[in-house]
């Protein structure tokens, strides 16, 4: 299972439909302070089933919907999709027979989240399991948030052991 691309619309500062190709090797993401780079990371984690608004710098989950800015009115809906290449066939059942998986999460103000895989409604847990089985997911240690390195350095010995436990 590998990642091919991510699309976003209405997600935080990415109000317009955006497509981020996820290719092999090393992809750099650059830009000035506050332009939206970390928002892309949060979009990825959100699509993989992140459950905590706080872990995405929000107070409630609706905070991830574009809140309006300048001439643009706020949006009522946000959607992020992850397109996965499954030609190796190692996605878990019931998705293992698809060559491509489109995992989509959408949210509407005051009415909650919806998850879909290739157009079929699924539960949050199905999406979380899909990614966990592929050694990734919103809580994966390989998604290193801004400030995490500083936090690892200043962590107390007990907290560090917990970090190891979670990875084990």
């Amino acid at each position: 299972l590998s990642f091919a691309k991510m699309t976003l619309v209405g997600f935080k500062s990415f109000v317009d439909a955006t497509e981020l190709p996820i290719e092999g090797g090393l992809t750099g993401i650059v830009g000035p302070n506050g332009c939206g780079k970390s928002n892309l990371v949060e979009g990825l984690r959100w699509a993989m089933g992140e459950t905590s608004a706080k872990r995405m710098r929000g107070e409630g989950m609706d905070d991830i919907i574009f809140a309006g800015s300048g001439a643009r009115p706020r949006r009522e809906r946000a959607e992020v999709s992850l397109i996965l290449d499954n030609r190796e066939g190692d996605a878990p059942a019931p998705f293992n027979h698809y060559d491509q998986l489109v995992v989509s999460r959408s949210i509407e103000r005051e009415s909650g989240t919806r998850y879909r895989v290739n157009g079929t409604d699924v539960r949050a847990r199905d999406v979380q399991t899909l990614f966990a089985d592929a050694a990734t997911g919103a809580q994966s240690p390989s998604i290193v948030r801004q400030g995490r390195i500083a936090q690892m350095i200043s962590a107390k010995p007990i907290e560090r052991r917990r970090f190891l436990e979670e990875a084990a």
Partner: protein, 162 residues
């Protein structure tokens, strides 16, 4: 439970020592269980000595040395269960130019070996120079982000505009 944690500890410790040596071009490092003999109660101390320096706990190293050591630990854990995607948000903030190149050498090797796709968010000119491709994020309209593909020469201009 206890046995599984000890095995994980052993594997991560081995990876950590070897990755530290690679990132620092020498030196030694190891994880130590402290404050209890029971691994489920113990804490984890990080001991490290960059080349030519004495072994000391992580808190006593310089800022950049601490960052590089933390990265060695991060990837030590990564290697026990390599992910198809790895996203690094400004992890190179405290590194000087030489260490940035060592860090990027490691990323290249991991992406080759584990076939992991890396997304590296950075402000560091030297990190950008080591990427296979670059995407720039701008806000041509206030509060609205836009993603564009950039070549390295354009990246210089991109980083410097608000």
């Amino acid at each position: 439970g206890r046995r599984r944690l000890l095995e994980a500890f052993g594997e991560v410790n081995e990876n950590f020592s070897s990755l530290f040596g690679r990132l620092f071009g020498g030196g030694e490092a190891a994880l130590e269980m402290v404050e209890s003999d029971d691994p489920l109660e113990a804490g984890l101390e990080i001991m490290a000595s960059p080349p030519g320096k004495r072994l000391r706990s992580l808190g006593l190293l310089s800022g950049g040395e601490q960052s590089l050591t933390a990265l060695a630990l991060l990837f030590a854990v990564f290697l026990t269960n390599p992910a198809p995607i790895c996203v690094l948000d400004e992890v190179d903030a405290a590194l000087d130019d030489i260490n940035v190149h060592r860090f990027c050498d490691l990323l290249e090797e991991l992406s080759g070996r584990a076939r992991t796709r890396f997304m590296v968010i950075t402000h560091h000119r030297h990190t950008m120079a080591r990427m296979d491709r670059l995407f720039g994020v701008t806000m041509p309209e206030r509060g609205v982000s836009r993603l564009v593909s950039v070549d390295l020469a354009r990246a210089e201009a991109l980083r410097e505009t608000a």
